[in-house]
């Protein structure tokens, strides 16, 4: 069963298609990364899900929507650059948005304390938000998105603007939240997506080019890439020798290494290692490369 179903969602601004008919489902309890280069339509997609932007076409269906027509009851949203009422203290702001989400004053109060503790802002809860650092604001932003115990938390580039420490804090926090809610977060940073997401939605030029779990996508694009690295320069007769082998294509020479694609990795491994021994190649590395997210990303984006 899916938490949310997005069908053929598209959006155009002034005749320019920003999101072009994307379809996906989110499974409850998963952490899903919406990955794509800048300008791929990630923010627009999230804003449509949050209700700020009306889809030009397509539908968004929440499974619990029958309970109430306002999907904002089930979502928490953190924009890319959250702006708070800077004159409020962190706790005041949480209570304010909690009450806006129909919590009573006392419920909002205790929930705010609980979340402030969870995001590590207990010491700063009485400080004016205007004095918070970027990382603190981001954590407060995550706390405010969780005030109404949403089923779905959407985070727009939650870590992109943070320093390594802030980034680490927020990623750990997201790992925590995963236990309570489904997370959909956008990012253009591959490491972040790789690190905490269960599933990926790869968006490019407004189209959903790939989706699935990291493993699935890895297999799909398993390239059979082999990398050879040499101690000094590459032996002169290498090209000739490699060309004689079957299964091997796309040979690419780099300064001290060669990369190529093999259609039968096992057979190629035996042949090449044999050649290496016979010819006394100064090998420093023999690697059957696993497709990284970066390869996948580049492959998809360059298609």
């Amino acid at each position: 069963m899916s938490l949310i179903e997005v069908k053929n969602l598209s959006k155009s601004f002034d005749g320019e298609d920003v999101v072009k008919g994307i379809t996906f489902e989110l499974t409850p309890g998963k952490c899903v990364a919406l990955l794509g280069p800048n300008g791929a339509g990630k923010t627009t997609t999230l804003r449509m899900l949050a209700g700020f932007s009306k889809p030009t076409n397509g539908t968004i269906t929440f499974d619990e929507q029958s309970l109430s027509s306002d999907i904002r009851n089930y979502i928490g949203y953190l924009p890319q650059f959250p702006v708070f009422h800077n004159w409020m203290s962190g706790k005041e702001f949480l209570i304010y948005v909690g009450q806006l989400s129909h919590l009573s004053k006392s419920e909002a109060d205790s929930r705010a304390d609980e979340l402030l503790d969870r995001v590590g802002l207990t010491d700063a809860k009485k400080q004016r938000i205007g004095k918070y650092s970027g990382g603190m604001k981001q954590r407060l932003g995550i706390a405010q998105a969780m005030m109404n115990r949403p089923k779905l938390i959407m985070l727009d580039e939650p870590v992109s603007a943070l320093d390594p420490i802030g980034r680490r804090e927020v990623l750990n926090l997201m790992r925590e939240i995963k236990k309570d809610a489904t997370i959909l977060f956008s990012t253009h940073i591959l490491n972040d997506a790789e690190e905490i997401s269960d599933e990926l939605l790869l968006l490019h030029h407004g189209e959903l080019v790939e989706q699935g779990s990291l493993d699935e996508l890895g297999n799909l694009y398993d390239s059979g890439k082999i990398i050879l690295a040499f101690q000094d320069n590459i032996p002169a007769d290498m090209e000739e020798k490699l060309n004689k082998l079957s299964h091997i294509t796309d040979i690419e020479f780099k300064k001290q290494s060669i990369e190529f694609i093999s259609s039968d990795v096992i057979a190629s491994r035996a042949e090449i290692l044999q050649l290496a021994v016979q010819n006394d190649w100064p090998l420093t590395k023999f690697e059957i490369a696993k497709t990284t997210l970066e390869d996948l990303f580049m492959k998809v984006v360059n298609q």
Partner: protein
């Protein structure tokens, strides 16, 4: 409940950014300055001198109703500017800065959002106008002669409709454009346009809100409410409700 939360937040915000201090002070100043300067000007000129020998100052001293109406004239000129200034960012400011992304991603009803903000602003402005007008009335009684408190109150109530009308225009414009400076300009431009149109077509548009301040003047002098006054107040109220309703619809369907 949700309405009250937003209303209360507006009140706290006006307290924290000391609007609850300076707005009443400014209106108090507008309310009393004409009565005081008009009364004391001849005496000041006399004592400062510089008048040609034998010249006689003959500044007519206005009667109490006219003296009180001087406060309204100041509110209409300077007060309106101040109102436009404090209301220009009411919603447009939140849309522009991006605070709305956090607030409106919560299940906030747009009607609550707009009307609570409208009510908060109205309370601040009307309290301030009342204080200034009360100050004006106080000096009228001391310097120009007695004017009944009931007359003062009823004239204030008529003027309240005019102030609410202008606040509503500004709230409405707030939902149209995101730029607070543009909101300021458009609100004042709209009010001026309505005033001019009312002046030109006054004979047809006898119920236009543009008449309200001249009705205040009329009431101060005659002490009677005419049918046109009631009708104009009713029309104004209807326009206010309609504008608020339209503002909610606009914001709801706006591409934020």
């Amino acid at each position: 409940m949700q309405w009250a939360v937003i209303f209360k937040k507006e009140m706290v915000e006006y307290a924290r950014n000391v609007k609850w201090i300076w707005v009443p002070m400014v209106f108090l100043l507008f309310g009393i300055m004409d009565q005081i300067t008009t009364y004391y000007l001849p005496k000041i000129l006399e004592s400062v001198g510089g008048m040609p020998e034998g010249a006689e100052l003959n500044i007519p001293i206005p009667d109490p109703p006219a003296a009180l109406y001087m406060s309204i004239s100041e509110f209409n000129m300077l007060g309106v500017m101040v109102i436009a200034l404090i209301s220009m960012g009411l919603i447009a400011g939140e849309l522009k800065s991006g605070v709305y992304e956090l607030v409106l991603s919560k299940p906030v009803k747009y009607s609550n959002y707009i009307t609570a903000k409208w009510a908060g602003l109205s309370l601040l402005v009307l309290s301030s106008v009342f204080l200034g007008y009360l100050g004006g009335w106080y000096y009228v009684n001391i310097l120009y002669g007695e004017l009944a408190f009931s007359t003062f109150i009823v004239s204030f109530l008529i003027y309240t409709m005019y102030i609410l009308f202008f606040i509503t225009i500004s709230v409405f414009v707030n939902t149209l454009v995101k730029n607070p400076g543009l909101v300021l300009f458009l609100s004042i431009a709209l009010l001026i346009a309505i005033t001019i149109i009312t002046r030109i077509f006054g004979h047809i548009l006898s119920w236009s809100p543009g008449h309200l301040s001249s009705y205040v003047n009329e009431y101060l002098h005659t002490g009677t409410m005419t049918g046109d006054m009631w009708a104009t107040m009713a029309t104004t109220l209807a326009i206010i409700v309609l504008l608020l309703f339209t503002a909610v619809t606009i914001l709801k369907n706006k591409e934020l």
